[in-house]
């Protein structure tokens, strides 16, 4: 091995390498081994195999860190494996696997079941790897673009559906625009530090006067790019349209995978800019409160469940940002717990919506949930759990996420923000319960049982159990977030 590619480099890069290799291999095998459309769903075994290898690589990294502690730095500080990165890698792995598992039936019903879908899914996960592990501006940016380009394609995957086309185009244009802002901010950070490594950027920022105009501009432009990626107000306009038009399985992936990866990037960058905390903290607080306000109030009037969940995910982004505003250990820990919980409950809610999608029914209206308790009690009860959790009501997992964010705000003596955040839970309960009401009180809209795939049922069981278990017995998960941040 040369000095450019040491064995440490290889060890750290291994999960991403495996994902890239399996992603490309899916593209090849798609027409080589599975030319017939009926057989194509077996590609998910291939995805599962790839994820299993990735999991082994991640586990070896995990045990290495357990043994030796600290962190593993590779590529001259461009890539790092620490507890924080590993936490996110596991999250991405779970999200991708669940989404791959539920996609085949949905895509078959929509008559757009192509093998490329799974390849791009894995390559998007590969991009996420560099968002959570990258500590170099260029690496992070290319990783972000890899993920974003994959998502542009996935959002427009229903090629004959006008709404899907429109959503993809909107997402592409606005996404490219926000990437431009981020790149501009990165170039200014590079100009200040003379290096693209995050640790050099951190020292350069610390050495600067806080009123330095270049520093202010760098923070401003980087924030604009990041706020867009996590769909925080006022850069949220793309989210409802992209969420509504995209295939629902992609919407689920977009709302958890892309958001978690963007939050990983956001936490890394704002931690590196930590010396200028007094500059970005008020901005972050303002954006968080705006996201809570607009996200919650706009969700109240929605009749399309995907749009409703899009607005609710904007408000969830607001809660998570408050964890960073609090600025103490508990805040960061709360963010990780929140992201973990959010991944499972939001995926679960989207899974039920996907299950409602049948041959001749789109199933995307709140009215389509009508009488679900009579039609299929199991799905209705699971949806109830997910919605309670999204609203943040004990004993579900969503409560634990919100609880830690509130605790962090109280510990940081930001009572005002804590009160506002708590008040918005009431608004959230209102619109989530519109869906619950539809399921339990209103009359049945469609007849006939729901036909779903085995993958869908398995995924529902996993997400449902995760939502309940984290809510009833949160200690191990909270400790997981804690140790992830310690290392």
């Amino acid at each position: 091995m040369s000095q450019f590619y040491t064995s440490t480099d290889h060890f750290v890069l291994l999960p991403a390498l495996l994902l890239a290799m399996f992603g490309c291999a899916v593209l090849l095998f798609d027409f080589w081994i599975f030319p017939q459309e009926q057989l194509r769903k077996h590609l998910i075994w291939f995805v599962a195999l790839g994820e299993a290898f990735t999991a082994i690589a991640l586990f070896r990294q995990y045990s290495f860190l357990n043994e030796h502690g600290g962190e593993l730095v590779a590529f001259n500080g461009a890539l790092v494996i620490d507890g924080f990165a590993l936490f996110f890698h596991w999250l991405f792995l779970a999200a991708t696997l669940i989404v791959a598992l539920i996609s085949y039936r949905y895509l078959e019903v929509r008559e757009e079941h192509h093998g490329e879908y799974y390849g791009i899914l894995m390559l998007a996960q590969c991009g996420m790897f560099f968002l959570a592990s990258g500590t170099d501006l260029v690496t992070m940016f290319v990783g972000l673009e890899l993920m974003a380009v994959s998502f542009y394609i996935l959002v427009g995957f229903l090629r004959t559906d006008k709404r899907s086309n429109e959503a993809a185009l909107k997402y592409l244009l606005l996404g490219a625009f926000s990437s431009g802002f981020l790149a501009y901010g990165f170039s200014l950070l590079y100009g200040m530090a003379g290096s693209t490594r995050l640790r050099d950027v951190a020292t350069a920022v610390a050495a600067r006067d806080l009123k330095d105009p270049i520093l202010l501009m760098a923070i401003g432009t980087v924030s604009v790019g990041l706020f867009f990626k996590v769909s925080a107000v006022p850069f949220h306009m793309w989210a409802p349209d992209a969420y509504e038009g995209a295939p629902t399985s992609v919407t689920a992936f977009l709302s958890v995978g892309s958001k978690a990866a963007s939050f990983a990037l956001l936490i890394r960058l704002f931690t590196a800019l930590g010396a200028a905390r007094s500059v970005w903290e008020p901005v972050l607080a303002g954006v968080a409160v705006l996201s809570l306000t607009i996200g919650n109030f706009a969700a109240v009037t929605q009749t399309n469940t995907k749009r409703l969940l899009a607005y609710s995910s904007i408000s969830h982004a607001g809660y998570m940002l408050l964890g960073l505003v609090a600025g103490n250990d508990r805040g960061l820990q709360g963010m990780l717990v929140y992201l973990l919980v959010y991944t499972f409950m939001n995926l679960g809610a989207f899974l039920v919506i996907i299950a409602l999608n049948q041959k001749d029914v789109a199933g995307e209206d709140v009215a389509d949930l009508g009488g679900l308790i009579h039609r299929n009690p199991g799905y209705a009860l699971l949806m109830l759990v997910f919605l309670l959790s999204l609203a943040g009501i004990p004993p579900t997992a969503g409560f634990i996420g919100k609880y830690y964010i509130f605790m962090a705000l109280v510990e940081a003596k930001m009572y005002f923000l804590a009160v506002i955040a708590a008040l918005y839970v009431a608004v959230a309960v209102f619109y989530y319960f519109r869906m619950v009401r539809s399921m339990f009180v209103e009359k049945q809209e469609h007849a006939g049982p729901l036909t779903t795939s085995f993958g869908m049922r398995a995924a529902l069981v996993v997400t449902g159990l995760a939502t309940l278990v984290v809510g009833l017995y949160p200690e191990p998960f909270v400790r997981l977030a804690q140790t992830s941040l310690m290392r």
Partner: protein, 168 residues
């Protein structure tokens, strides 16, 4: 008076003027040619920064490759109907105001903070830029360099999926 600033202003004017014409002209062919002028201006700016590799790439790839393809597509596709439609959204003035405000803000901060950016030392030999770039690409930036290939692969696969009428 040194000649460099003169060239800078000339190239900058070419870049901005070309960009403006690209979005204001009606005929798509004219737009494409204006865009070529704008890209050529950027190429000139690269040359002023002694980045002759970027200069060559800009001309060969953007002006030579991509723009010629653009022109081909424009000539193959009938764009007359599009040319007759309104060129601007009704609320173009809001966009213009936002653009001007953002531009003014950026110029203000850049002008105030320009002293805070230290210029990188010029390479001793002006011809060394390409070698330095390749050295960096294959040592310090090896990882993102390889990652870009993956990004391009995804983009190619995506464009094929979007463009093909029937995927087998």
């Amino acid at each position: 008076m040194p000649i460099d600033p003169l060239f800078f202003w000339a190239f900058a004017a070419l870049t901005l003027g070309g960009a403006l014409l690209t979005i204001t002209l009606r005929s798509a062919v004219h737009c494409a040619i204006a865009l070529i002028a704008s890209l050529a201006g950027v190429a000139g700016l690269y040359l002023l920064q002694k980045a002759e590799f970027l200069f060559a790439v800009q001309i060969v790839l953007y002006i030579g490759g991509i723009m010629v393809l653009f022109l081909f597509v424009i000539m193959l596709v009938n764009l007359d109907a599009a040319a007759r439609e309104r060129q601007f959204h009704k609320r173009w003035w809001a966009g213009l105001a936002a653009t001007l405000a953002t531009g003014a803000l950026l110029i203000y901060y850049l002008a105030k903070g320009a002293s805070g950016l230290r210029a990188a030392p010029m390479p001793a030999q002006p011809a060394g830029n390409t070698e330095q770039l390749s050295d960096l690409l294959f040592s310090e930036y090896l990882l993102p360099f390889e990652l870009v290939s993956l990004l391009l692969l995804v983009a190619i696969v995506g464009s094929v999926i979007m463009a093909k009428k029937r995927i087998v």
